[in-house]
Amino acid sequence: MKSLKKRENIITAAIVLALLALAMALDILLPGYHIAIKVLKKGAVYALVAVSMNLLNGFTGLFSLGQAGFMLLGAYSYAVLCIPVAKRAGVYQYFDGGLVQFSLPEVLGKLPGMLAALLIGGLIAALLAFLIGLPVLRLKSDYLAIATLGFAEILRAFFQWNALGPITNGSNLLKSYPEIGGALAYILLAGIFIAMIILLVNSTYGRAFIAIRDDEVAAEAMGINLAKHKRMAFIISSFFAGVGGGMLAMYMGAVSALSFKSTMTYEILLIVVIGGIGSISGSVLTSFLYVASLEWLLRGLDSGTFLGINAPGLFKNGFRMAVVSVIIMVVVLFFRKGIMGDKELPDLFKKKPSRKMKKEVAAK
């Protein structure tokens, strides 16, 4: 058995390495504004956020719709902590240069500073998740969904409040903060965080989460502390959503609370569903697929020509999203398992048990 396991792991590792090499090559060959680079960057960010949502909704069975709120926290933390001191007066022009008068990348050095800002964003999101979780996690399925959705909306209103302007810049944009680098940097960063989530899912805690998802009562009877594990899943998922939000801020180049609407949560939820609820590789794959088709491959549907068909009357602004949402509905209704079901990438390379093996098992 052991050699079998090794084989599929080697294939998976080879695929991942090949993709990394490809990203590196694209980084070198293509200019930074090329659409492929943008797709890779945004895809990496979405992959991280989708996996963090999958940890909660797919592995722990807590149907939470607060992801956009936690991303907002991460994005704002990153932006606020990273705007260069020299540019603060310009960004916070309505608030006398703002309250925060330091910039982490300038204090700690560029890369450590940015990483620290991302982690601080994640920690703030996690802290808030802890506070929110105290009351909210007592709720069940759809009530939990609505409460977390409501929380995200409150957060959005709060960040646009003028009284907080010296920190959040009110309803104005936060911009001029540095970016971490090319597509490879994004992929590596998101990859490290996703790897942490994979390790978590395969640990004792991960098994406890899955047990809670499958049957709460049975899990409790097995000695799993429900409240503790649910809170843990919620906090960890929010931490990674916060980090993802920070990376999204990096990608977008300018942050405004307005863009973190509930639609964003829905988008990520639908990515998780299409990838397969409970499959990390499914979420990652779908994130890249979704971003690539929206930002790149299906662009033609919006601008008049697609696959050589020229129909400006039909292919006008918004047709792309309409087509994508129809595809999503088809998946939701008829392919409920999504692309990967609850399988992971290595599972696909497992040798199917041969007929002889099956017979032997049956004989035993």
Partner: protein, 292 residues
């Protein structure tokens, strides 16, 4: 007091409009145990159809067309997006509802080109200005609460006295047993969606009269607030939804009157979280015990 008066009047009116939407949520939740995320978008579509028909048809034609189209939309959503998932876990149903909401918004974006559609004098009589107790307002503000209460009374009578109403109550109480007793569950559920969409269409006509335009996202907020109202009143209960909606409408406008407009939305959700934590069954909800 005199400054607060317009806000109070507005609050009652907005509350009435929320009530009409909230009934749609509460009826569907009562039977399917599903938060129909698409309901707010159905409301938005009703507003859009209203804009289109009121510019191209006389009013006695456009009103029935809006209602018929909205009802048809609600019916079709149920048939295509929820019916195939009858036996699926509740989470799939909710995901499907979110998917439908996403689909409707994107289709509306495609059709309108993403431009908010201006509302121009949709129903002339109710958009005239009147003066009440020294406060100037549109007539719709006065019509809404009256119309809402009349419609709610009719609905309650329908549910209490008619056969389909009895079937709906039975299905809400126990889905499987109702089926065993020979109730055609699919037609009951369709009826629920038809009633919900009908009320949402009326609500949309009243609601958008007060606004300059109908945008793609216009349905989201009132939809979510109406849902909060339904939860606040005790989900599954019609009087609860109506009382909750009026209370939320009033509180929201009073908060606006006090100068905290930014937090009028946030208040609603804070209320939701408090209600869910303190009394999850809401004001009039029945206590449900989960059996293992």
């Amino acid at each position: 007091m005199q400054e607060m008066l317009p806000y109070l009047i507005n609050g009652i009116s907005v509350g009435g409009q929320y009530a009409l939407i909230a009934i749609g949520y509460t009826l569907v939740y009562g039977i399917l145990r599903l938060i129909n995320f698409a309901h707010g978008d159905v409301f938005m579509v009703a507003g859009l159809i209203m804009v289109y028909t009121s510019t191209s048809m006389p009013i006695y034609l456009s009103l029935p067309v809006v209602i018929a189209a909205t009802v048809a939309l609600g019916f079709l959503i149920e048939r295509f997006a929820y019916k195939p998932l009858r036996t699926a876990p509740r989470m799939s149903l909710m995901i499907s509802a979110i998917g439908v909401s996403y689909l409707i918004q994107n289709l509306a974006f495609y059709i309108t080109g993403g431009v908010p559609q201006p509302v121009t004098n949709m129903i002339p009589w109710i958009s005239e200005n009147v003066t009440v107790l020294g406060a100037s307002t549109k007539r719709v503000t006065l019509v809404t609460p009256v119309l809402t209460i009349v419609l709610v009374i009719v609905l309650v009578l329908l549910i209490k006295k008619t056969k389909i109403g009895m079937a709906m109550r039975a299905a809400a109480r126990d889905f499987e047993t109702a089926q065993l007793m020979g109730i055609k569950i699919n037609s009951v559920i369709s009826a629920t969606f038809v009633i919900g969409s009908f009320l949402a269409a009326i609500g949309a006509m009243l609601y958008f009269t007060n606004y300059p335009s109908v945008a793609i996202g216009s349905g989201g907020m009132p939809g979510l607030k109406a849902f909060v109202a339904a939860v606040f009143g005790g989900i599954g209960s019609i009087p609860g939804a109506v009382v909750g909606a009026f209370l939320i409408g009033l509180c929201e406008e009073v908060i606006k009157g006090l100068g905290y407009t930014t937090f009028s939305d946030a208040f609603t959700f804070a209320l939701l979280i408090i209600v869910l934590c303190v009394k999850p069954t809401g004001l009039f909800g029945e206590k449900v015990t989960d059996k293992v």
